[in-house]
Structure formats: structure tokens, C-alpha cells
């Protein structure tokens, strides 16, 4: 039992990092997801399904492939990464930021879909009412659509958080497996599994992931309950 609680320094680093990455991922993903979800939910345009297909790529592609694409785009020699490096001296790959970006990209379709779904289910009658009361599109969105779609937004946030906790493939390629910088729980877990006989360390990390999951769910459950109470 005591062995199960005996976290090594590296493991503790991984746990803290995982949490930080997941929070940043969920927080950063929210604003763009909201905008895109609203756009997809309320506007009709030619090529909508092309946009959708594009946005859903990170879901359909194996995360390892996503990681490679990120590397090809944002790596130091990447299509965009080159300029970021040349112009701003910004090296994204193999860093904490890369871990957050990898998580974000992979969670993006999930967050968008949850938010979009709940925006679509908001009755436009309320938005019309807001317009007759003088609110412009943005005000209507912020004061009416958004709060009514809140369950979906919470859902999107929790999905991004949870997906980030489990993210492995894209992270190990784009962010590397560097303790204290990009080694999240799944990556640390990977390391332990590589060593025969280190199962208990792997199990320990697994348990932490499980606990994180439960805490996240309790929290979102609590928020949703408050919401229903409120409505």
C-alpha cells in the first residue's frame, strides 16, 4: 500500500504538469471553440461540411499523425515554425507550450461539437426577442445564447480537460517526453511500462489519472446541477 503512495519526484512533476496542461488546454480552447461553434450552429454557407471535415481532422487522425503534422507545421524547421523562430525566436516544439498545443488541437473537435450542439438546441426565439430589445449580435450571443448553452459549454470544457489528461500520441511527438517540461501522466506512464517490473509505478500513475477524472466529473456534475437549479 505504502508503495502505491510513494510517488517519485518525476511522477509528482508529471502529475503537476498534467494538471497544468489540462487546465490551460481547457481554458485556451474555450474562446475559439465558442466562436466557431456559434458560427457553425447559426450560419449556413457553402462548404460548411468542408470546414467541419477540416475541424474534425484531429479526431479522425491517429494522435501520432496529428503530432507529426504539428511538428511539420510548428517545429523549428516547420512551415510556420521556421518564421516563428526566425522572427520572434519562438521555439514551440518540445516544451510545455507544445504539450498544451497538442492537447488543444486534439480536444478541439470535441469542444466545438459539444458547444455547437447546445447552441443549436437553443431556441432562436430568445435571440429574436433580444434583438427586439436592442441587443446586437454579440450582445445577444453573450447575454442570451451563451448562458442558455451553458451545459454544452461546461461539457466542452470538461471534454477538453479530460481529453488532455489522456493525450499521449500527439504530445510525445510534438512536445517530447521531457520530465518537468512536457512529460505528462500518460508519458510518464509510458516510460514506466517500458521497464518490465515497474508495474506498480504505472499503476500508481493510472490511479492518479482515474482520480483526476472523478474529480473533474464531480465538478462538472456540480456545475450542471447548479445550472438546472438556477433555470
Amino acid at each position: 500500500m505504502s508503495e502505491l503512495l510513494n510517488f517519485s519526484e518525476e511522477e509528482l512533476l508529471a502529475i503537476g504538469l498534467s494538471f497544468k496542461v489540462a487546465i490551460w488546454c481547457a481554458v485556451l480552447i474555450l474562446p475559439p471553440s465558442l466562436m466557431i461553434a456559434w458560427w457553425l450552429a447559426r450560419k449556413n454557407f457553402r462548404g460548411k461540411s468542408v470546414v467541419e471535415g477540416f475541424l474534425n481532422l484531429p479526431l479522425v487522425l491517429p494522435p501520432v499523425a496529428t503530432g507529426f503534422i504539428l511538428l511539420l507545421l510548428l517545429g523549428t524547421n516547420g512551415v510556420l515554425g521556421k518564421y516563428l523562430n526566425d522572427w520572434f525566436g519562438l521555439k514551440l516544439a518540445f516544451s510545455f507550450y507544445a504539450a498544451v498545443i497538442a492537447s488543444m488541437v486534439v480536444s478541439f473537435p470535441l469542444a466545438i461539437r459539444a458547444i455547437r450542439l447546445s447552441i443549436e438546441m437553443v431556441d432562436p426565439a430568445y435571440e429574436e426577442a433580444a434583438k427586439t430589445l436592442g441587443a446586437n449580435s454579440l450582445q445577444t450571443f453573450v447575454r442570451v445564447t451563451l448562458p442558455l448553452a451553458l451545459p454544452g459549454i461546461i461539457s466542452g470544457f470538461v471534454l477538453a480537460f479530460a481529453r488532455s489528461l489522456g493525450e499521449f500520441g500527439a504530445t510525445i511527438i510534438f512536445a517530447g517526453n521531457i520530465s518537468g517540461e512536457s512529460q505528462t501522466i500518460p508519458l510518464a506512464l509510458f516510460n514506466e511500462i517500458q521497464i518490465p517490473g515497474h508495474e506498480s509505478a504505472a499503476f500508481r500513475l493510472l490511479m492518479v489519472a482515474v482520480i483526476f477524472s472523478f474529480v473533474a466529473m464531480s465538478f462538472s456534475e456540480f456545475l450542471v446541477k447548479k445550472l438546472h437549479h438556477r433555470k
Binding site: 507529426f68 511538428l71 516547420g78 516544439a93 518540445f94 521531457i178 516510460n191 517500458q194
Partner: protein
């Protein structure tokens, strides 16, 4: 201070099959030199791709000679620093529940019928251990009889795992891994001539630094060799 830190630090990209060795080397080196070691552990291929895309590293340990050749062909490593770090041997393993005593003769003559189900090896297409295992299978001409009974794993550790779990009744993996596992029994150790020699390759990056030089020196040291040895590798 950031620069100071950078100076006093090296980054080692190590193949996942030598995770434990890499960790112990790093610790030992850190303790003796005071230089911080940043480890990046992934499969040899991923590491090579990362290096190709501009990842900053000081030393690369590959379990796969092809990937070492690849990074060398792109002149991403210092050609002169490439060297064999250690070698390994193949063994055949069964789950520890299987307590049969199998004689060498029995093994070599009846290998395919010693077990039912699939034979767990690394994916011969890209996992070196799998490739060596296939060479051994060809060498003893078991391939026809085995047919499609191969269970290819994405790395050698997974191949071992399948035997540990009893999902495969037989597997061919590295001796180092098999010895560490308490859940498998080694029933046969393949002789060196059954397959190509199994080498772990190391190479330094082209960017020179004092810390890296110290590390290269350390790799030659007895302490380093002991670590390889302790983990079952032949330095």
C-alpha cells in the same frame, strides 16, 4: 540565469527500450558532474523524426540501426561520434505459469508445436527485435510451419507484455527485458549466429559543448559500463 542553466545542461534522446539504462546513466552523470540531464524517451523512430524536424539534442541513443543511418544520412549527427554502445541477445520466453523444462534439442526441433496460438514478437516491419526474431525464425526454418501465427507488437516491450499476460504462449524478445520480468520464464537463449548482431547505437549532435564532451567521456567510463551491465546489456 537562463543561459547559465542551458550551458550546464545536456539533452539526451534515448530509445524507449533502454529507458532504465538511460535514466540511471543520467542520474549517475548528474551526480558526478553536476550537469543537468534532460531525458527525452520515445521510440527510436520518433526520436529520429524529432531530430529531423530540428529538435535540440546533445546525444541520441537508438535501438535501431536504420534510424541511426537515417539521421546520419541527413547529417544531423556528428558522424565520428557514432558508436556501438551495447549489444543484446534474443531469448524465447513462456509465461511463468508454464513450468515445462524444455531441452535445447526439443526446442530447436519442435519449436512451432511447443505452443498453440500466436508467437509474440516485435513487429518485424519496424521493430528491430522483431526483425532479429524473424531472422532467427528463418534461420531455423520455422517460418513455413508458423505461417500467420505471428503476433506483431509495436515495440519489444509490448511483445514481452503479451507473454506476461499469457495472451501468447511463446515470445521472442531481448534477454535484457526478459530477465527483468518475473512473469516469464526464459526457455531458450538464441546464439549470436542465429541473427544479425544486436547493437544499440549512440551519436552526439553536431553542436559542441563542454557538457556534451563531459558526457561523452562519461559514457566511456567504468561506471557507465556497469550500468549497462547491471541492466543485462553487454557493453
Amino acid at each position: 540565469s537562463n543561459r547559465q542553466e542551458k550551458k550546464n545542461q545536456i539533452s539526451i534522446f534515448a530509445a524507449s527500450s533502454v529507458t532504465n539504462v538511460a535514466r540511471e546513466l543520467a542520474h549517475d552523470f548528474e551526480r558526478s558532474s553536476g550537469i543537468k540531464v534532460k531525458l527525452n524517451i520515445a521510440s527510436s523512430g520518433i526520436l529520429a523524426r524529432q531530430i529531423e524536424s530540428g529538435a535540440l539534442f546533445d546525444y541520441y541513443i537508438s535501438a535501431n540501426q536504420n534510424w541511426m543511418k537515417y539521421v546520419d544520412s541527413l547529417s544531423l549527427v556528428n558522424k565520428h561520434s557514432i558508436r556501438n554502445l551495447a549489444s543484446n541477445q534474443l531469448v524465447a520466453i513462456v509465461p511463468f505459469t508454464d513450468q515445462r523444462a524444455i531441452s535445447e534439442n526439443e526446442f530447436l526441433m519442435q519449436f512451432p508445436s511447443l505452443f498453440s496460438g500466436r508467437l509474440s514478437i516485435g513487429d518485424p516491419k519496424h521493430v528491430p527485435a522483431g526483425k532479429y526474431a524473424m531472422q532467427a525464425i528463418d534461420y531455423y526454418e520455422w517460418d513455413e510451419e508458423l505461417g500467420n501465427r505471428i503476433l506483431p507488437a509495436k515495440n519489444v516491450r509490448d511483445a514481452l507484455l503479451m507473454v506476461e499476460l499469457g495472451e501468447a504462449e511463446m515470445g521472442i524478445v531481448y534477454q535484457t527485458d526478459a530477465k527483468k520480468s518475473v512473469k516469464v520464464n526464459i526457455v531458450y537463449t538464441f546464439p549470436y549466429h542465429a541473427c544479425d548482431s544486436i547493437h544499440y547505437m549512440g551519436a552526439a549532435s553536431k553542436s559542441k559543448s563542454e557538457s556534451l564532451d563531459q558526457f561523452l567521456l562519461y559514457l566511456q567510463s567504468i561506471e557507465a559500463k556497469q550500468i549497462w551491465n547491471k541492466n543485462g546489456f553487454k557493453p
